[in-house]
């Protein structure tokens, strides 16, 4: 049985073994793409997977056990369902909501399923990156 291949960027930066892995779940391709780029531009963050619905996000979280999963609240299948299942099947993964909606109902729903951070879309990129690091440190 062969060893899993190391990712090229890990080879490039052997001095940082504790890289922070991130999964992105959002049905809006533009958001998935740009959020991946924003996070990938940070030296300590690794986007290991992107998903466009709840089921895909759950499967990829189980496969990659990322440190942080960033989930859209209204993606198909429901962000709350995805968060609940990821917390159950990959307990090591911390979940962060990234939503166009900031109403108390949506925030409460996500908090109840174990989401640690709730970001409303439109915040500066630096705030998003800081939140990912904060959630990972919990």
């Amino acid at each position: 049985m062969s060893e899993p291949r190391e990712r090229p960027e890990q080879l490039k930066r052997p001095e940082r073994p504790e890289r922070l892995t991130v999964l992105i779940g959002d049905d809006e391709p533009l958001i998935r793409e740009v959020l991946s780029e924003v996070l990938a531009a940070e030296p300590d963050l690794d986007v290991v997977a992107t998903a466009s619905d709840a089921d895909e996000a759950i499967q990829l979280a189980v496969r990659h056990t990322p440190v942080v999963a960033i989930l859209d609240v209204r993606m198909p299948g429901g962000g709350a369902w995805a968060a609940h299942e990821i917390r159950r099947l990959s307990p090591r993964t911390r979940v962060m909501a990234f939503s166009a909606y900031g109403d108390p109902g949506a925030v409460d729903e996500m908090r109840r399923v174990g989401v640690q951070e709730y970001l409303v879309k439109g915040l500066p990129n630096t705030d998003i990156v800081a939140a990912v690091r904060r959630v990972a440190a919990v």
Binding site: E28, L30, I31, E33, V34, L35, E37, V38, A41, R74, A100, Y101, D103, P104, G105, A106, K121, G122, P124, N125
Partner: protein
């Protein structure tokens, strides 16, 4: 007429509580009163005797000269029957069936008027809710709300998301671009963000979150938290409801409150606002009161000047089969009050 007939007639009038039975002098001032009148209109005899009967009419009907017109018609035709809103002592309204009879003595001189008024609010409310027109109105309210929700969701899920992505991309480019371009990119990003903010406000007004999922009181409470507290005011929300109203009623109440609160925020210069919801007459009676600067102008002239918020509030209440009123005096705040029927229909 034998003496006992006088006694019985007086006894009858004094025992009837389902009808207001009273007399007016030829100029329309109240000269007698019965327990039914006190029950229906809220005045005790000593408070009302001597006052002109126009106090029973909504202000805009007094302005339009309706009370005098009704007496004139009764004088000419002998009697007049009318149905419409009348005002109780506490300012709330009831749907009245009114019969005014001109009373002439044997010499043919007008001695005054007999007035019999019955409170038909509950009967009218139930009948209207169940008839075709009531059902059509309920469907219309629902359809309009669905349309607003669809537009709000489209803007949220499509336009805002794309603009968020554009903003994020501009920030990313700014970190990579040479300094002279980075500033321009960040300014562009600020413009995009400001537009996102305005679009969010638009969608919030179009379809406040929670309006159709959390119940009316909770929906209003969230709205007050966001909009009123956000504008630096304090609020008090009290409710005494027998049951959650049907959704079209809840939407109508929410929309009128929303408009009233917008007025408070924009014009009243208030520091506190009170909203109260009470079950009454098979409906919900709502008051939105502020402690702002108030105004002296008559509502009708504000409406004529095109104050669309007031027109919309009144129309919403009246289309739903209810009534709406605003009261204010300079320096003592304003009070929007309305009542809308809340009759639950059986599912078809």
């Amino acid at each position: 007429m034998p003496e006992y007939e006088h006694v019985d007639l007086n006894l009858l009038i004094q025992c009837v509580v389902d009808y207001a039975i009273f007399m007016l002098d030829p100029t329309g001032h109240v000269v007698s009163w019965n327990p039914g009148a006190q029950r229906i209109k809220g005045y005790r005899a000593e408070e009302i005797i001597g006052r002109h009967f126009s106090v029973f009419y909504p202000p805009q009907e007094v302005t339009a000269g309706k009370p005098d017109r009704e007496l004139a018609t009764a004088t000419v035709e002998g009697r007049l029957e009318d149905e419409g809103w009348r005002v109780r002592k506490d300012g709330t309204r009831f749907w009245a069936n009114v019969i005014i009879t001109a009373l002439y003595d044997e010499a043919g001189h007008l001695r005054g008027f007999g007035k019999v008024t019955r409170d038909m609010t509950e009967r009218r409310t139930v009948e209207r809710a169940l008839d075709e027109r009531g059902q059509l109105l309920a469907h219309l309210v629902q359809a309009q709300e669905m349309e607003r929700r669809r537009i709000a969701w489209d803007v949220h899920d499509d336009t805002i998301q794309s603009m968020v992505a554009v903003g994020m991309r501009l920030q990313l480019l700014a970190t990579k671009a040479p300094a002279e371009h980075a500033d321009a990119l960040l300014r562009l990003n600020e413009t995009v963000n400001a537009s996102i903010g305005r679009l969010r406000n638009l969608t919030f007004r179009l379809h406040p979150p929670g309006i159709d999922s959390d119940g009316m009181v909770q929906g209003l409470s969230s709205y007050l938290d966001q909009v009123v507290v956000g504008a630096g005011l304090t609020y008090e929300l009290t409710h005494d409801l027998d049951a959650e109203p049907p959704s079209e009623t809840a939407i109508t109440i929410f929309r009128i409150c929303q408009e009233a609160l917008t007025n408070v925020r924009k014009h009243a210069r208030a520091s506190a606002v009170k909203v109260s919801l009470t079950s009454a007459d098979q409906g919900v009676y709502v008051r939105v009161t502020d402690d702002g600067v108030g105004f002296a102008e008559q509502v009708d002239s504000q409406v004529k000047r095109g104050h669309f918020g007031l027109i919309e509030m009144r129309q919403r209440a009246e289309v739903a089969g209810g009534w709406w009123n605003i009261r204010s005096e300079p320096g003592s705040g304003a009070s929007v009050e309305f009542w809308v029927p809340a009759v639950r229909r059986e599912a078809p």
